[in-house]
C-alpha cells in the first residue's frame, strides 16, 4: 500500500523554539495512526502545518500522491483533510446546523437550514451518532460537542481526519462511541491521525504509532509490536510508575458532610438533588460520572461559588452552607478547578502574581498598606522549584507556560496552603504521562498527610487508581457510594448510565 500522506523533513520554528525538527511522517490509507509525545513535543504544531494553520519553514507534503501546498485551512478542507482541534472550534452561540455548514463553499447565498439539518442527521446516523440539529452548541455537553466537531469534518467529506487529543474530555462510554465511529470511518478506506496521551487508548485503536520527542521523530512502529511501557519510555526517556498504595481510613475523623443538598443551575433547573456525602481525613473520595451530571455544581457548592437551595454542608462540624467563598477558603478548602484557563489562573499575569492568588490578603504577604513583593517573590521561587514548574522565569505571563506547567502552578498554589479539604476536578486533563504521574503523586502525598480529597474526574482509570471510596453521579443524584476494592469498571459504567448500586451490586464481575 502506498501512503496516503507523506510529510517530509518538516521544520517549524517559533521564536526561540524549534517545534518541529525535520519531521517525517508517513500515514497509510485506511489506518489509524497515533501520534504520541510529551506536552510540547510538537504534535499539534505538526498537525497545524498539515491543516494549513501554520506554514512550514522547510519540508514538503504529499497527499494522495500529489505534492500539495496547503496555504490555509480552506485548502486543507478542499483536499479532504479534516481536523478536530485540541480546543474545540465551535461557536457556542450558533446552532448545530449552523456550526456544521459554517464556511462551506457550496452553501447557497441563502441558507437552507432544513435541508442541511436533514443531511446532517442522516450523516450522523450513518456513524451511529445522535444529534439534535437545532440546539445551541453552547448548551451541549463536551461529549456532544466532540461528536459535533467530528461531524463537521465528515460533513466536509474528510478523507483524512486529524483528532488532536479527542478523548481528553470524554467518558468511557463516549470513548467507546468515538472508537466505533473511527472504526466505521476507516472501514470505508479513510484515514485517521490520532493524538493522545492515553497509552491504553493508543494501544486499543491505532495500527501504527509515531512518537515525537522534542520536535523530532523518536520512532515509528506497529502497535502490535509494542506495549505501553515501551511507548512511555520512548516518550519520556525513563520508566514510569503509576501504582499507588491505599489506606483504610474508616475510623478517621469526618472532615466534610453534605446533607440533602440541592442546587439549581442558571436556568433554575434542579441540578443537585438531595445530595449526601461525607469525606474523612486522609481519604480520597472519587466522584465518577459522565460530564454534566452535576459534578461542576458539586464543586461549586462546596467552594461557595454556587448557592445551595436547601440542605446543609458542614466542615469540621462548622456549618458552611452558603458561606462566602472567602470564608470557605479560610476553613482550609483548596480547589483545583476544572478549567484552569477559565478559572484557575490569570493568563496575562505572571507566575508570581498567579501564585499569590489565594494569599494576597494573608499576613506575611499583605502588610497593612502594601504587598510585600520581596517575600512574595521569594515564596514563588521556592514553589516553582518545589513543584518542578518548567518556566523561563517567575515573571513570565502564565499564558506562555504549557498546560502541564500551568497545572503545576495551580496545584502548587493550592497544596501549599496545607488544605484540610482538597476539591480536585480533572486534575490531569490534557497532561502527558510525565506530568500526570507527578501530579498524582502530589495528590497522594496530601492524602497521606491527612487531607480529605474530593477527586472529580471523568477518567474511570484515574478514579479507580487513586480513590479509596467512589461515588457515582447521575443527573444530580448519587447512584451509590462504594469501596474502591469491591467495584468493577462495568458496575461503575452502569451506575454512570443511571442505575443504582442496589441494582448493579449483584452483577458478577468478570475480572
Amino acid at each position: 500500500m502506498s501512503p496516503v500522506l507523506e510529510m517530509n523533513g518538516i521544520v517549524k520554528r517559533f521564536p526561540g523554539v524549534l517545534a518541529n525538527d525535520h519531521v517525517d511522517l508517513r500515514v497509510e490509507k485506511g489506518e489509524v495512526h497515533a501520534l504520541l509525545g510529551e506536552n510540547g513535543a510538537g504534535k499539534s504544531t505538526l498537525m497545524n502545518v498539515l491543516y494549513g494553520m501554520y506554514e512550514a519553514d522547510e519540508g514538503d507534503i504529499r497527499f494522495k500522491d500529489q505534492e500539495v501546498h496547503v496555504k490555509g485551512p480552506g485548502d486543507a478542507i478542499a483536499l479532504g483533510i479534516g481536523m478536530v482541534h485540541q480546543h474545540f472550534m465551535l461557536v457556542p452561540a450558533l446552532t448545530v446546523v449552523e456550526n456544521v455548514i459554517l464556511g462551506m463553499k457550496d452553501n447557497g447565498r441563502v441558507l437552507d437550514l432544513k435541508a442541511a439539518a436533514e443531511k446532517i442527521t442522516a450523516l450522523a446516523e450513518r456513524y451511529t451518532m445522535k444529534i439534535e440539529p437545532f440546539t445551541l452548541v453552547g448548551q451541549m455537553s463536551v461529549g456532544q460537542q466532540q461528536r459535533l466537531e467530528i461531524l463537521k469534518a465528515l460533513y466536509r467529506g474528510a478523507e483524512l481526519l486529524i483528532l488532536d487529543e479527542p478523548t481528553a474530555v470524554l467518558t468511557p462510554q463516549e470513548v467507546k462511541g468515538l472508537f466505533n465511529m473511527i472504526g466505521a470511518f476507516t472501514s470505508e478506506g479513510r484515514t485517521v491521525i490520532f493524538i493522545s496521551h492515553k497509552l491504553k487508548e493508543v494501544m486499543a485503536i491505532s495500527d501504527r504509532v509515531t512518537v515525537l520527542r522534542s520536535g523530532k521523530v523518536a520512532h515509528t512502529l506497529h502497535t502490535s509490536d509494542t506495549d505501553p511501557k515501551e511507548l512511555a519510555r520512548l516518550m519520556v526517556g525513563r520508566e514510569i510508575d503509576l501504582s499507588c498504595e491505599k489506606f483504610s481510613c474508616a475510623d478517621n475523623r469526618e472532615v466534610l458532610r453534605m446533607e440533602r443538598v440541592c442546587a439549581e443551575n442558571e436556568k433554575g433547573m434542579a441540578i443537585l438533588k438531595e445530595l449526601n456525602l461525607t469525606i474523612r481525613e486522609g481519604e480520597i473520595l472519587g466522584v465518577a460520572g459522565v460530564d454534566g451530571n452535576g459534578q461542576d455544581e458539586l464543586a461549586e457548592v462546596l467552594t461557595g461559588l454556587r448557592r445551595v437551595t436547601s440542605g446543609t454542608i458542614t466542615m469540621n462540624e462548622k456549618d458552611i452552607t452558603n458561606a462566602s467563598c472567602r470564608h470557605i477558603l479560610n476553613q482550609g478548602v483548596s480547589h483545583i478547578p476544572a478549567d484552569r484557563q477559565l478559572r484557575g489562573m490569570i493568563g496575562d499575569m505572571n507566575v508570581v502574581e498567579n501564585l499569590l492568588l489565594m494569599r494576597y490578603h494573608d499576613r506575611p504577604f499583605a502588610k497593612p498598606f502594601h504587598l510585600d513583593w520581596k517575600r512574595i517573590e521569594h515564596r514563588a521561587e521556592t514553589l516553582v522549584k518545589e513543584f518542578q514548574v518548567k518556566t523561563p522565569g517567575i515573571k513570565v505571563p502564565m499564558a506562555t507556560l504549557s498546560g502541564g506547567n500551568q497545572q503545576k502552578v495551580v496545584l502548587g498554589r493550592e497544596i501549599e496552603r496545607n488544605p484540610k479539604l482538597l476539591v480536585a476536578m480533572h486534575p490531569v486533563r490534557g497532561l502527558d504521562i510525565g506530568a500526570t504521574e507527578y501530579i498524582h503523586k502530589r495528590i497522594i502525598e496530601q492524602r497521606d498527610r491527612g487531607c480529605a480529597i474530593l477527586l472529580i474526574s471523568t477518567e474511570l482509570e484515574e478514579i479507580l487508581e487513586l480513590s479509596d471510596r467512589i461515588v457515582v453521579m447521575y443527573e444530580g443524584e448519587i447512584m451509590g457510594s462504594v469501596d474502591c476494592s469491591c467495584v468493577t469498571i462495568e458496575q461503575l459504567g452502569l451506575m454512570m448510565a443511571g442505575h443504582r448500586w442496589e441494582e448493579v451490586a449483584g452483577e458478577k464481575s468478570e475480572g
Binding site: M53, P73, R109, K152
Partner: protein
C-alpha cells in the same frame, strides 16, 4: 388629541431614521466583532459629504452616493487600524470623532465659505405613497415621509434576512463570536471584518446625509449632535437584532419628539430635564428591559492569527 398623536408618530419616524440607519449598519460590524464609537464622526463626515455632493453635482442622488462613499472610506480607515494593525477600537473610534469634526468643519468652510447664506441644495424630498397617504390622519403621519424613512424601515427585515438567513450573515455572526473557529474553517476573518465595517460605513454615511439633507437641506458644524452615540446605544439596546434596533430607535425618537412637544406646549419643568429624557430613557431601558445582554463574544477584541 388624535391629531396630536399622529403628529407625534410622524415626528418620531423622522427623528428615529438617522439613528435606525446608523444602528442597522453597525449591526453588521458589531456582529462581526467591531465596536465603533467613532460612528458620530463618520456620520458627521457623511452629513458634510452629502451636502458637498449635492452642492457640486446638483443632485441629491449624487449627494447620497458621495456620503455613502466617504462613510465607507472612513470605515476602511477604521478597519485598517483595528483589524490589520490591531489598534484599540475604542481609541480609534475616539480619534475618528475628532477627525470627523475637524474634517467636516474645515472642508465645509473651504467649500461653502464662511458667514454666507447656506447654499440651496437639492435635498431628500417627501415621497407620498399613493393611496395610503390619503388615509385620514394616518396617511400624512406615516405615508408622507422622505424616501430614507421608508428605506430605513424596509431595511429592517432585509438586514434581518441577511444576518440570519444567508451564508454571509452566518459568517458574520460566527466571526464576531469565535474568529479562531472561523479561521479553522477557511473563513477569512479579516476580510469579513473589513467588509462589515465598510457596509456599516455606507449606512453611517447615508444616515449622516439624512441629517443634513433629509431633516434639513444644508450642512452646519457638529450637526449630528450625539446621534452617533445614540445609535451605538440602540444597537446594544436592540440586542444586536434588527427588530430590536427598530424598537430602540423608535423609542429614542419618541423620547426626542415628546420632549419637543412638552416644551412647545409650555411646561414648568426646566428644559434641561426635558432634554435629558432620551438619555435617561436609554439607561432605564438598559437596566430595566435588556438585563444582562451579552454582545457577540469577540466584540471589541482584535483577532490575532
Amino acid at each position: 388629541m388624535m391629531e396630536w398623536i399622529f403628529e407625534f408618530i410622524a415626528a418620531d419616524l423622522r427623528t428615529m431614521t438617522p439613528i435606525l440607519l446608523a444602528a442597522l449598519g453597525m449591526a453588521f460590524s458589531e456582529r462581526a466583532g467591531s465596536v465603533n464609537i467613532g460612528a458620530e464622526g463618520i456620520m458627521l463626515i457623511g452629513a458634510l459629504a452629502g451636502a458637498a455632493g449635492s452642492f457640486l453635482f446638483g443632485s441629491i442622488w449624487a449627494g447620497a452616493f458621495v456620503a455613502m462613499a466617504s462613510g465607507a472610506l472612513i470605515a476602511l480607515l477604521f478597519a485598517y487600524l483595528t483589524v490589520t494593525l490591531y489598534a484599540d477600537q475604542i481609541v480609534v473610534g475616539a480619534g475618528l470623532n475628532v477627525l470627523g469634526l475637524g474634517l467636516s468643519t474645515s472642508i465645509a468652510r473651504v467649500l461653502f465659505g464662511v458667514n454666507t447664506t447656506p447654499p440651496q441644495l437639492d435635498a431628500y424630498k417627501i415621497v407620498p405613497i399613493p393611496l395610503l397617504e390619503k388615509i385620514p390622519l394616518l396617511g400624512p403621519a406615516l405615508f408622507q415621509q422622505k424616501l430614507l424613512v421608508y428605506v430605513a424601515i424596509v431595511l429592517v427585515p432585509i438586514v434581518h434576512f441577511i444576518l440570519f438567513r444567508t451564508n454571509m450573515g452566518l459568517k458574520i455572526r460566527a466571526v464576531g463570536e469565535h474568529p479562531q473557529a472561523c479561521d479553522t474553517l477557511g473563513i477569512n476573518v479579516y476580510r469579513t471584518r473589513y467588509a462589515t465595517l465598510i457596509i456599516s460605513g455606507v449606512f453611517l454615511g447615508l444616515a449622516g446625509s439624512y441629517v443634513s439633507l433629509g431633516l434639513l437641506s444644508f450642512f452646519t458644524e457638529n450637526m449630528i449632535s450625539g446621534r452617533g452615540f445614540i445609535a451605538l446605544a440602540a444597537v446594544v439596546f436592540g440586542k444586536w437584532k434588527p427588530k430590536g434596533i427598530l424598537f430602540a430607535a423608535l423609542l429614542f425618537g419618541a423620547g426626542d419628539a415628546l420632549q419637543f412637544r412638552l416644551q412647545a406646549s409650555g411646561t414648568e419643568i426646566p428644559y434641561q430635564f426635558l432634554l435629558m429624557v432620551p438619555y435617561v430613557l436609554t439607561i432605564a431601558a438598559l437596566i430595566g428591559l435588556v438585563g444582562k445582554a451579552k454582545g457577540p463574544a469577540a466584540r471589541g477584541k482584535p483577532y490575532l492569527k
